[in-house]
Symmetry: C2
Subunit: 239 residues, 2 copies
DNA sequence: CCCATATAGTCGGGGAACCGACAGTTCTGA
DNA sequence: TCAGAACTGTCGGTTCCCCGACTATATGGG
């Protein structure tokens, strides 16, 4: 199979994504094999990569752009996570042959590599190194989710906002999220997030604007995010 | 390598654990390969399988008994999860070559199969089917964790307690956990859990005793756990 | 350029849950 | 058997946060 120069670039990028843990490098053979397992696609802003409940025949690796993962429970739409460059989506449902557990919507223009389930499985059987890498990547995501659970527990909204700002800030210390979006990401109300931001502004840690927050003092923000003085009593737990 | 009758039983059990998704059955060759990747061990009550921060050279599959996973943050000991028969522990850290992110303590007598990192990796490269199965198992855990995050958000302690009781109840509808343990599992205070249990008792859904709760009406409990009338307004989220 | 829409900012009421404290009960080991 | 430890049950004060309501400002399409 002949690869166009554009495809070469694509696969080089794909190797970077899976190579983040620099554990077992992907060989050129592996990359060529993956080209048979799916194809590159583009999505316009607002369109869905997949929807909750659909049979999961595809998994995606985001190449460019951001995707919003959300679930609808009792008519309540809840943003579960945001996925950016290098994130893998839908692999859980695809591997488990279950319906997608969440919907994925493109926040802006998105380029992605779409794996085809029926084509991918044989490739993975033939290329255990790729499978192992995928395993490591999936477990990394699991760890991140567990960390998120712990972050959510026993922390005020102000602390959570501070931490989220640190995570989402770009090189310039700028965050381009509406307060409403932040609130949904944290599972808090817009008003409380607004109040938290007001305090952070009073603390001279950030500046706020229309759909725009600038981190003035990342160190101070870090102090607020994980307060050290909050050492509560430890209750021993037996069964 | 000669397998003792006991080992045969062990491996049959191990196959069941990995085979829960009945996707790609493990072959006898696979089982034999796994026997080289580690060994069966027994742990007494209260002893640790591993501790937070230690280099992760082992992963465990629980064969019998229950294990408590906890982390210590700012001197606060937090139970992250409980693992029972068939659960895989420590694989995240082991595969990612990072220190264990939590401690694992045997709640009672525990039997487990302990994988040895250096022995396991070559086996996985040679047996992609096992790797794929492990991948599926890991992703299943990821899904469960994500579900847990969603369960935690926007639910009262009473609802959470009801759901936990359904999950943890045995065949007889009995739960053998102290209120303190339940509180820690849910990230709530003991008093609030006690209050929730009092209400559940008033609702005639459960009976309570010393380290002992009996589910009287599982249906009613389910209704309380996931209330249908709680349809709140949906705010659209754009970025 | 104007207006519908989206976002930001603020206030007050009310509810859920945390926390400390304390009394009563059950268990456990010496 | 007996004392200390662990567990349950309850109360009141306090904090945090959700929610509704309202105003002001920014954006973007026609």
């Amino acid at each position: 199979m002949a690869l166009t120069p554009t495809d070469q670039l694509h696969f080089a990028w794909l190797a970077r994504c899976f190579g983040k843990t620099d554990y077992l490098p992907l060989s050129p053979t592996d990359l060529a094999a993956l080209s048979h397992a799916g194809s590159f696609i583009d999505k316009y802003q607002g369109t869905h990569l997949f929807r909750e409940g659909e049979p999961a025949v595809h998994a995606y690796v985001i190449e460019k752009g951001e995707v919003e993962l959300y679930r609808t429970i009792n008519g309540i739409r809840r943003v579960v996570a945001r996925a950016g460059e290098g994130n893998v989506l839908g692999d859980i449902a695809m591997f488990r042959s279950e319906p997608y557990i969440s919907s994925a919507r493109a926040i802006g223009p998105v380029s992605a590599f779409r794996f085809d389930r029926d084509k991918l499985m044989p490739v993975l059987i033939q290329h255990p190194v790729i499978t192992l890498r995928w395993l490591v990547a999936g477990l990394g995501q699991l760890e991140a989710t567990q960390r998120r659970v712990l972050r959510l527990m026993s922390r005020t909204v102000k602390e959570q906002v501070a931490e989220l700002l640190i995570d989402e800030a770009d090189d310039m210390g700028e965050v381009h999220l509406s307060q409403n979006t932040i609130a949904t990401l944290l599972g808090a109300s817009r008003q409380t997030v607004n109040e938290a931001l007001s305090e952070l502004r009073r603390d001279e840690a950030v500046e706020t604007g229309y759909r725009h927050i600038r981190v003035k003092d990342a160190t101070k923000l870090g102090m607020i995010a994980s307060p050290q003085g909050t050492v509560r009593r430890v209750k021993a737990v037996s069964n």
